[in-house]
Amino acid sequence: MSDVVATEIATEIAIDQRAVKASSSSVLGMTLFVASEAMFFAAFFGAYFTIYAATAIWPPLQIPIPEITISAIATVLLVTSGFTLSAGVGAARKGKASHLNLWLGVTIVLGVAFLVLQAYDYSNTGFSIHDGTYASLFYVMTGLHMAHVIGGVLFLILVFFQSRAGEFSIERQDPVRSAAIYWHFVDIVWVGLFVIFYILPQGGS
């Protein structure tokens, strides 16, 4: 029966260990969620290339060649925000709360600036969602991405307030890491969208 007692003790210790492991479960959960989101956008990229391959002139003639300047600035801002957030995660790992607050604040400002520029860009496209498949793809894909950026900004704001309330330490920074995984994903999807909607059409094929 001593075996049973030993097992009981082992089990209690193990449950403690599992409580520790569970705390990083949220990061794993967010990684899986992002994998799922990646498949979601992959389907749209698949639709884009299916239609692109079957269309002789891309973008179609009624679509003006996109003006690249504004969205290039927006892209630089969003990519930069990825680096500022990484700096924030680094600060969180070292337990430097004030640095974390600063980097989170900068990231949020960059994210909002991206949204403003994209809204401005929407008003200058020169075509509406009804103007053929290119317009369908452009507005649906960038619109869904914009919704993800808005979600990401809200997520970062939440983490920012948690950080200001002193909820993070060297032992606990999972929400920061989760937000960063999500934000990097949104960032990478945008780079893909920038390529297919702003750079690819410049060739005028």
Partner: protein, 554 residues
């Protein structure tokens, strides 16, 4: 265990209102598992009534009961409810209840997200059903919802899209929860290669879910935009691609088929060893097969589109034939597990054996139709209807029933009656084959699927009548099952902790388990820890026919 029982006895009986509130707000994986089972069976009954209406209409030529448009709505929602709101969630219900127990965990990794993923389900299901009162009626383009028809129908289509968006979100959240739970919350000693095979099946299903369901979500969002925002994804007259829907749908749809069957494979692979008194033959082979099928299932989607003439036939035919290799390994391992086993024909075992036989027929159908030449002849005939039902009813539903009889004592503390179980099994087996085998012949005789009526004199009438009689025998068998469940639930809790002589950890706790699942865990040194404990304690196999009064066998 004693502490838990004392607490139970002392705690005042909660009021009826308190109990309802507890079920509505629970985050306990066991209660959520039961909610999943209850919700799935409710949708099973609704979908089953739709099936009976279809079979009544088709029992003889002529329009008797359902006008063609209503018929289209009924068969569309029959398929949609059965696939998205019965089969997938019922397997999730078992997963919710038994994955944490089988890995010795206290609960799922994210209990509140778990509750959310359950409650999204009835919301999604009712949204789809609400199409019946919408303008233009419910969705009526089949569960595959092909464009352009799906673009032309009424508001019910939008409700179908919205409902499945909700159901899809529910399944993705559930799958993330399962993967994190299985990877992070296993008991000490429970390495991946010691996981119960059912847990492996849930893990594979969850991987498929997070990778395939979002593609479907993207597809139905494109369809929603085409219908409501004036986009042209699927409209060839404006440069869109009508086959894009089929590609997107089946890229999800074929992995979906495996999401609907993997759980049943897991259940049967749990049950066979218990009722043969042998370990599962080739455990590693089964795990590898699950993983190979998970990977291969993303490469076969276009075999649903052979007849469109725009897919690479040799490639998709070859990948489809390849997937029969790991499936064949599974069959071999099940048969090898049975070989020279001491077979106990308890009700769960009967259903497991029924599963093997019926799923074999469904599987062979699939191998045949993977050949393009055969497929061209059989596309959109009743052969296809027969095939899907041999896989999903003969396969999954028999597996689900096996699981229910097997785990019912663990979930409720009560054993389902054996005699009624026998009646249920034989009626279901006979009714099932009577309902669906004639459909093979109807398909070979060229009867198209999804038609509300057919002319007499084509040799279809008698086979259709047989099929309709079979459908009603299935309905009777399910009534027997419901009577069994209701009468058993009124009896006292007499089931032992381990009534079957199980192998996995759920049998190491009481029936039903306490809120915290385990008071203590046995040491885990193999993939059969409870069997090891029995051997170590020198206990023989427990006698199944002699229920003891208490739950103190452990």
């Amino acid at each position: 265990m004693a502490v838990g029982e004392v607490a139970d006895a002392v705690a005042p009986e909660p009021s009826r209102k308190g109990r309802v509130l507890e079920w509505l707000t629970t985050t306990d994986h066991k209660k959520i598992g039961i909610l999943y089972l209850f919700s799935s069976f409710s949708f099973f009954i609704i979908g089953g009534i739709f099936a009976l209406l279809i079979r009544l209409e088709l029992a003889q030529p002529g329009t008797q009961l359902l006008q063609p448009h209503l018929y289209n709505e009924i068969f569309t929602l029959h398929g949609t409810l059965m696939i998205f709101l019965f089969i997938f969630p019922v397997l999730n219900g078992f997963g919710n209840y038994f994955v944490p127990l089988q890995i010795g965990a206290l609960d799922m990794a994210f209990p509140r997200i778990n509750a959310l993923s359950f409650w999204l389900l009835p919301v999604g299901g009712l949204t789809i059903l609400s199409g019946f009162v919408a303008k233009g009626g419910a969705a009526a383009a089949g569960w595959t919802n092909y464009v352009p028809l799906a673009k032309q129908l009424g508001t019910g289509e939008d409700l179908w899209i919205l409902g499945l968006l909700i159901v899809g979100t529910s399944s993705i959240l559930g799958a993330i929860n399962f993967i994190v739970t299985i990877l992070r919350l296993r008991a000490p000693g429970l390495s991946m290669m010691r996981l119960p095979i059912f847990v492996w099946s849930v893990l594979a299903t969850s991987l498929l879910t997070i990778l395939a369901v979002p593609v479907f979500t993207a597809g139905i969002l494109m369809l929603f935009a085409d219908r409501n925002l004036g986009t042209y994804f699927f409209d060839p007259s404006h440069g869109g691609d009508v086959l894009l829907w089929q590609n997107v749908f089946w890229f999800f749809g074929h992995p979906e088929v495996y999401m609907l069957i993997l759980g049943a494979w897991g259940i049967v692979s749990e049950i066979l060893p218990v009722f043969t008194g042998k370990p599962l033959f080739g455990y590693r082979g089964v795990v590898l097969s699950f993983l190979m099928i998970t990977a291969l299932s993303f490469t076969v989607w276009a075999h649903h589109m052979f007849a469109t003439g725009s897919v690479e036939l040799p490639f998709f035919s070859a990948t489809t034939e390849m997937i029969s290799i790991p499936t064949g390994v599974l069959f071999f391992n099940w048969l090898a597990t049975l070989h020279r086993g001491k077979i106990r024909l308890e009700t769960p075992m009967l259903f497991a054996l029924g599963f093997i036989a019926m799923f074999l027929i469904g599987g062979i159908d699939g191998v045949w139709t993977a050949s393009p030449a055969v497929d061209f002849a059989l596309t959109d005939t009743y052969w296809v209807v027969s095939h899907i039902h041999y896989v999903l009813f003969g396969g999954t539903v028999f597996g689900v029933m096996a699981g229910l009889y097997y785990w019912f004592p663990k979930m409720t503390g009560r054993m389902l009656a054996k005699r009624l179980g026998m009646w249920h099994f034989w009626l279901q087996l006979i009714g099932f084959n009577l309902a669906f085998f004639p459909m093979h012949l109807l398909g070979l005789r060229g009867m198209p699927r999804r038609i509300a009526d057919y002319p007499s004199g084509l040799g279809w009438s008698f086979l259709n009548l047989l099929s309709s009689i079979g459908a009603f025998i299935i309905a009777i068998s399910l009534l027997v099952f419901l009577v069994n469940v209701v009468t058993t639930l009124r009896k006292p809790r007499t089931a032992m902790d381990d009534p079957w002589g199980g192998n996995s950890l759920e049998w190491a706790t009481s029936s039903p388990p306490p809120v915290h699942n385990f008071d203590r865990l046995p040491p885990i040194r193999s993939n059969r820890p409870v069997y090891d404990l029995r051997v170590a304690e020198g206990r023989a196999m427990p006698s199944v026919d002699l229920p003891t009064s208490g739950g103190e066998a452990g």
